[in-house]
Amino acid sequence: MSERYDSSEMMTVTAARALHNGQSCFVGIGLPSEAANLARLTHAPDVVLIYESGTLQTKPEVLPLSIGDGELCETALTTVSVPEMFRYWVQGGQIDVGFLGAAQVDKYANLNTTLIGDYTQPKVRLPGGGGAPEMATCTGEIFITLKHSKRTFVDAADFITTVGFGRDGTARDNVPNIGRGPTRIITDLCVMQPDTQTKELTVTSLHPGVTRAQVEEATGWAIRFAADLGETPEPDDHELEVLRDLKARTEKHHSEA
């Protein structure tokens, strides 16, 4: 790892670069929001950011703490009702990319944000589905970003809140009107993509300085690596500067009230 940046920054910049200028992106709170706004403030000024609170094409100065911060509405092109958001915009197929986080991701990119353990006797109760279950099926594709650890990357999710490719990789086969699902998972160690045949998550590039062993150690199944495994390009100075400014502004803003 370089001294210019840390692994969180590497993750966020890589996630940001996944978004193209002009795409419409449904943004989850937290890491996805950080990455999507970084994209907007760097290479993708015309990326359209949409939050499930109904704020369309928003350009927040600071990152929102919640999905419904006033900032999102004040800087949006327009704000619609939540039923309209889910009916016209998500289900209506107007969104290119859904950008999500998760508590657990499994081998077939299924997401769990419901609970750890058994449903009736949970070990840990998590917040639940929110906007994710339909975002994962109604948008063109899904990007997922979260930190890499054995606790988060598990062989099989305790509960499939939001489908990736199902228990056996075939959940999207022959389903009409469904998006491509998770096409890219960006962690602090690497980038993973579903195998084109089996849909099993496979490492396609390692971040600079990260070893295969580190990824294997942090993954709850026997993770595979692509034949043409690459190295993820490093953040440039401009990206790092914009990201740090954004985070500093955000921290200052949210500590004020």
């Binding site: 709170i29 937290g30 499930e52 609170s53 109904g54 704020t55 929102p64 703490l65 919640s66 999905i67 419904g68 911060d69 006033g70 999102l72 509405c73 704000t79 619609v80 009702s81 939540v82 039923p83 958001m85 889910f86 009916r87 998500v90 289900q91 299924n110 419901t114 449903y119 949970p122 109760r125 998590l126 917040p127 639940g128 589905g129 929110g130 906007g131 994710a132 279950p133 339909e134 099926t137 109604c138 509960f159 499939i160 809140t161 939001t162 489908v163 199902g166 959940a171 999207r172 389903v175 009409p176 009107n177 469904i178 949210h254 500590s255 009230a257």
Partner: protein
């Protein structure tokens, strides 16, 4: 036609023990003043409906008002867990509550269907999710034109919906502005409705397509300044992110929570418009 009532009287009249209650507001305009009044009046056995239970339901559940929760995302936004909700679900304190869990899309559609007078909402939802396995209210139907399998959920038709808004005019017509969530749908879907507002004004002074809820579909309008704090009211005051963060420590501990409740809800009493 909307009646102007004190918060005490509106809650006393429309929130009855055992009722199904929706208190909406998507991060914005959460009706905290009304929630505290429900706690003060020791309402019991409520079925609470809300997409994001947020701190308001964490407080009401911790205070023992609820027997059931219908929701789609149960966290403290940007902070973490709702500890009172978790304590009730995981350890049965102050008593066990039942939960029924949806996705946001399904709940938003169910409110929309309730407002539309339909018994069900149809959506392209829950594909590949385990949620239908643990929520027997999620069914599937076949489109008679295309054969596509679509999800169906029952419409939400609360006994009473409570929402907060910017202002009402003297006829009880209400303006909701900014992040409007499912407030209008919640009011239209309910048998009775209470709208708390920051202020009552002579003229709403709105443009042609503003989100206005006419007074004749509202049961009671209550003047409750700052009635959404620590949430926020667009144009009036900001969200107290600090309170949302502080809540984590308060709610984590039963005693700290009880002390908070005594001081800030019970002892504080009503701070608006009591005519009782």
């Amino acid at each position: 036609m909307a009646e102007f009532l004190s918060l005490h009287d509106a809650v006393a009249r429309y929130v009855t023990d055992g009722a199904t209650v929706a208190m909406e507001g998507f991060t914005h305009l959460i009706p905290f003043a009304a929630g505290h009044e429900v706690i003060r009046q020791k309402k019991r056995d409520l079925t609470l409906i809300r997409m994001t239970p947020d701190l308001i339901y964490d407080q009401m559940i911790g205070a023992g008002c609820a027997s059931k929760l219908i929701f789609s995302w149960g966290g403290n936004p940007g902070v973490g867990s709702l500890h009172r909700l978790r304590d009730a679900v995981e350890k049965g304190w102050p008593h066990q509550i039942e939960i029924l869990e949806h996705s946001h899309a399904a709940m938003a559609n169910a409110f929309e269907a309730g407002a539309s007078g339909l018994p069900l909402a149809v959506l392209r939802g829950y594909i590949g999710s385990d949620l239908p396995k643990v929520n027997d209210q999620i069914k599937f139907i076949e489109c008679p034109f295309t054969g596509e399998r679509l999800a169906a959920v029952p419409a939400i038709r609360p006994d009473v919906s409570i929402v907060h808004a910017q202002k009402a005019d003297r006829n009880g017509n209400v303006l909701v502005k900014g992040i409007i969530g499912v407030q209008k749908e919640a009011v239209l879907a309910a048998t009775h409705s209470i709208v708390t507002v920051e202020e009552i004004v002579d003229e709403l002074d709105v443009h042609a397509n503003a989100c206005v809820i006419p007074g004749w579909v509202i049961s009671a309008v209550v003047e409750a300044p700052a009635g959404a704090k620590p949430s926020y009211t667009h144009g009036y005051y900001s969200r107290s992110n600090k309170f949302y963060k502080d809540w984590d420590a308060i709610a984590r501990d039963r005693e700290a929570f009880t002390a908070w409740l005594d001081e800030h809800v019970f002892a504080a009493g009503q701070d608006n418009g009591d005519t009782a």
